[in-house]
Symmetry: D2
Subunit: 431 residues, 4 copies
């Protein structure tokens, strides 16, 4: 997921924003606290970034897009950071190449933390004294939303790094295992009638990224949506039935990926004499059959759905079902950093776990909504530039900040991506 970065203007109370700024920034540093400088500097694949880079880049965002405007008299902390920690904003200069971020041993983690402290000090001082109400304050809010996205990436990138290590070391050895639930409920279905639905973020409803706009109408057919996400026990059935050896369930590109990558199960699954284990941020653990399956690619989600006689929902169907539902579930604040097993009664009355636990792959490629307009300037330069070759995921995961989510939120990743906590929920055409 790359940050979509242009919010709609919205007045802000500077004091409340300052408090929120401190809270979000501190949360990021808490995520990095269990890690050594080496852990924070390594890059396990071109799609991932070092934690140190996330720490610096989010700070660069505030320095470049807020402080440079709010405090034009202030010298940059280090002019070189302008290049090193730019992700992809070509209007700000040629970014340092992403696959080589692991070679940036300088600045050190300590230097990056000093960079954070410097920007935090000046930004909060400015917030305390400013009368501003307009664009700069909105950019602070945008920077915080952006930082929350990177919080999630810190955890997925660290998991990928440690998961490559032959010793499977834990990010936090003290991470509690979720309690077993006593058994997930059988899969049920909830019916949604055909009709024209308003899709996208509505006016006046708080922060949203520009890709959630404009709100527009779509004509949906009747569909049914599963009462809960697919769980590990069900997905293991697909694996054991030979699903990864049978081309008939797979998209053509998906089957190519299965063969080229040697996939035999979701990422982080390991087969042992006592059954499946999964690597978690707390180390290797037995697979919990009642928890939602995660770390599957879109290809695997799609293949499973076909095998199960169903399909993935479109993002509009998902949003239609989720609109009006409370953002409840398991989030990063719960501290488990893995999806929780389903309890016996969940999903009886309405689809359970739409938010949190696992991102749900949809059947929808990531494209612009009708009438979409990118914002002006560097922040808006690239709002739509990732709208190709990616699929939309909805709902958030067990490592998402709860306040970061909403029914109209659109996450997106390429179809082969597996290193996020990505799972699926089944749908079918209505009878």
């Amino acid at each position: 997921m790359r940050a979509s970065v242009t919010p709609r203007p919205q007045a802000r109370d500077a004091a409340a924003l300052a408090a929120r700024y401190r809270a979000v920034r501190a949360a990021t540093e808490r995520l990095a606290a269990p890690l050594s400088p080496e852990d924070c500097s390594a890059q396990s694949m071109p799609d991932a970034s070092p934690v140190k880079w996330h720490l610096a880049h989010t700070t660069w965002f505030f320095e470049t897009f807020v402080l440079a405007g709010a405090r034009p008299d202030l010298a940059p902390f280090d002019p070189a950071f302008r290049v090193l920690f730019n992700s992809y904003y070509n209007a700000v200069g040629e970014p340092y190449p992403r696959p080589r971020r692991g070679l940036l041993t300088r600045p050190s983690l300590a230097d990056v933390l000093a960079y954070r402290a410097h920007v935090d000090r000046h930004l909060t001082a400015w917030l305390a004294g400013t009368e501003a109400t307009g664009e700069l304050l909105e950019r602070v809010e945008l920077g915080l939303q952006h930082e929350q996205q990177h919080q999630e990436l810190i955890l997925s990138d660290v998991k990928h790094l440690l998961g490559q290590h032959p010793l499977r070391p834990a990010y936090r050895a003290d991470l509690p295992s979720p309690e077993r639930s006593g058994g997930a409920p059988a899969l049920g279905w909830h019916r949604f009638e055909a009709g024209v639905r308003a899709i996208g973020a509505g006016p006046g409803a708080g922060f949203r990224f520009d890709n959630e706009e404009p709100r527009h109408r779509q004509l949906l057919g009747t569909f049914v949506l599963a009462s809960r996400p697919v769980i590990n026990a069900e997905y293991a059935g697909f694996v054991e039935a030979g699903g990864y050896r049978q081309p008939e369930w797979w998209l053509s590109d998906g089957w190519s990926a299965v063969r080229a990558e040697g996939w035999q199960a979701p990422a982080y699954w390991e087969r042992g004499p006592a059954g499946w284990s999964v690597f978690t941020l707390g180390g290797l653990r037995p697979l919990d059959p009642d928890a939602p399956v995660c770390h599957v690619s879109f290809y695997e989600a799609d293949a499973y759905a076909r095998w199960a006689g169903a399909r993935l929902p479109t993002e509009a169907e998902w949003e239609a079902a989720a609109t009006g539902t409370a953002v409840a579930g398991h989030f990063v604040e719960d501290g488990a950093l893995e999806p929780a097993p389903l309890g016996p009664d969940e999903g009886r009355d309405a689809p359970a776990r739409l938010f949190g636990d696992v991102w749900e792959w949809t059947a929808s490629p990531y494209v612009a909504y009708p009438g979409y307009r990118p914002a002006a300037g560097a922040l808006g330069e690239y709002n739509g530039k990732f709208m190709c070759n990616q699929m939309v995921l909805r709902g958030g995961s067990c490592v998402s900040p709860r306040r970061h989510l909403r029914a109209s939120y659109r996450n997106f990743f390429p179809a082969p991506a597996r290193w996020q906590w990505s799972g699926l929920r089944l749908a079918k055409d209505g009878g």
Copy 2:
């Protein structure tokens, strides 16, 4: 484009079908006639196939899906062909790997032509004597539609092969250059009002592929559509203005492709002291400023549209505009094998050249229509398996058979593909 292969049942007159069979099969062989055995055997890239392979694979289709059912007593022409000329039907066995088709020097071109003659003789004999009216006849029609798709691929693959040759040899040195038109008309716009539109092939309206079904309703906003495709003179303006050096016009993946592939202009364009030339099936020629631009990728089409202050139409918008329009334009039957320059008055009253000349990239990823159901059996096994990571093109090109096209026809290629006659038409949101 890979063949989508399941037609809806439809009664057929066997005699008329036999005549059509002979005509289509002969047309394929006429396309191969100017080529040497070497020309027919080479493979210029993994995405392309040797002409000989096209000749054999289309024949394999009839042998496997028609003759094997119609004449179960008949021995296969050569049992090895079952593997060698299977494209991707896993249910028929493990296909021979596509990137290595150029190594299949055996069977020879002469052997493949004998294979064609054998299947043609038995299939037309069976057609002459059969009382069948059902599935097998429909499979003959499907095979003919499939063969027409491969006719177009023969020409694009040959163009790619010869275009790699340092001498830029002509496919047919006698190919006439289109006459200059005296100047293309200025770009105009046609307005289409918002409303619910029926999209997809309707019942009882002749052959269609399964990906055109089911017909369903979509809610479209008001939009305007350009009076004609973008022409070379316009696209050259984008090139000369530095469009290929400015990241702001490009999707992120598109900009990566520009840099990785070193793109500086559409495929087959060559800059010389006297201006742009283009490689055609008749050899190198001066670029005609008034002809539709072609051999652009989706990325280039999308970047041009952004630069021009417009966007690509969605496939539904395109279909809404094209429905009810006659399939008129320039097709393979015209014999030029390049798009024709625009005449002074074209597009005044309605969008011109929707059909033929150049395939038009749309803004729509290739996905299933709501309620799409693949057919049963090997033919239906993979109908939807290409519905990922591809973009839809509409309308047909100067190398498409005229009768192969219709308003609901969906062609599709990955975003970087440039070796088809692919161009674009601009659209905008309605005022």
Copy 3:
């Protein structure tokens, strides 16, 4: 093996040379005769070339280095061939890239044969009328030696192409299988005493390539050399004993190649229910246990020798042993195109099969002899440019022309190469 191309000056009888010219050129065309135009145009890997390219390149050599000097009035057959069929002579212009030779469908095989006829006609006419005795005649001889090298490459490249084909088609279905020999002799050893040996081609002894010069003295220790090459039965013992799964026998680069390439036996070996088969130019055949092993890389030869408690001979040891030995064995003129099984008494009195049957890998990297000087001009430009990262092979093979070989002849290939008829002979330090 790339041609080393500067001979020492040597007077020639033009009439005898003309006869030899006709014979060598005709022999090349006989090698191509069983092949279709498609067979002659395909390229199975970057290291191999299409047969058509060999036919044209050898002709280009005569046109460029002889006819252009002998008949400056004569227009080139086709000026484009100057680039297309240049192998690596940068002084003659930028060569066409080797890995793309399979895309040169033009000129056709028929055109290339016409090119050969044109050059042959003019060259033999010139030879019939010339009084020349100097450099041009020497270049004719050089061209013939060069053509003989390409004759061998034609067969190895065709074998590689057909060996990739899933049907394993024969180059010549009528190729006789060698008779079984009744059992190879046990391995014996012949002792060579320490001393100073003259190595390299001596003065006045007929044609030689410049890499065989200058003749110089080397101090050799006492060594013993095996009475015959390693045979298939012995090598199969290494395979069956797990040699390809045990790193201890292998050079580090060799072990990497085994793992990266998935080698489990020599090239062209196939394991079946009835034991090992080998692909030959006559198709698949049972492995003859008594024939010399071939199609092994230097890595495999070296690993086998270590496993067998021996080592490979250096090229100086090999040459010291072969000097004075008649060039007897099995060559391309014998027509079997595979090494012959060893007869019961071979090697009793002296090392058998030093010439022909299989090229023997030596322990010697290919480097210049002391005092080596490349010749002037394009022909000499690159004489030494391949003297890096290659190993020397000695003796010739079953597809070498008998008259092409001698004790001082140095063939060379990179250590991983397996597509030549390359085998090995063991050596040990003297007691």
Copy 4:
């Protein structure tokens, strides 16, 4: 350079050895002292290793090959290190893959330093109390020689890592620049008469690696050797004359490397408005015209020699010239970490700078000496396994420990390697 690891038996005084052990181990840690944990953990290319890995691997060597024998009662510091820090000893278990060493963020640098302290404590305690005189003591010496090799690799790998960084940060900002010399002497030549020379380490002459044995006789022709290494001013002349654009100077593989890698000058050279700069461990500095050129590949050394009308010496010629010469020059103990400029009179009486400053590429591929025998056991398992596809360098460099070098020392790297301090000295055949 990979460690060649089997010494010949040699009695040792345990107390002196303990002192030497402490000195060598401390020297290694001094090299790492200026580096952060991040610097020590990154891997800039597959051929390089993280400093942390060097620190751990050299310790693993003592733990595995000495302590495990000397103190079988002692538990391993961490059993996992057996795999993680094994370089290539397959007999000790499957090594962790080299290109992924940068992902080993665990153990941390602090843990690795604790590992060093643990092994040092136990090993020195054992040395203090042991009566041993045999193989284990020899293994200590071997481990120290091995560690000295890794000291040099630490510096070359760190230079490569920092040289990739866009800011070109210094390893030690306080590193003094060498003083300018006032002008290097003109190139002179020293003559060595033909004759039989003893090559290789003689008996009883202190530590040597097994690849220096056995001592044997070689017959050398008369040759002349340059009075000093090629200097930057001379090499810059080759660059400015277009040497990197002219194929005639290059081996075929070398020319391919020039084109594929885009080489335009030695590694670390940067062209600026004020002339050439070079990246050093002290940061970017102006090129010193009088210092020996370094960071050239074998291909560049060979091309320069050809351009200069000379050649590289063979390793036997080099050794013949160096035998009996004192090991004088500039080494790691001098602290400059770059070669020193040549003074006006150097090389007048004998070849100057044979030792230290820059490793000198020779014309000799790295092969076994006649009669070479690898030792038994894991230490000897692979002594010869790198004897393929590498070229020999002689003499040592400005980052070699002085006591590590001798006339018979054979270093070796693949022909394209440029990240060592590798230069060249010219030679010619004698008149």
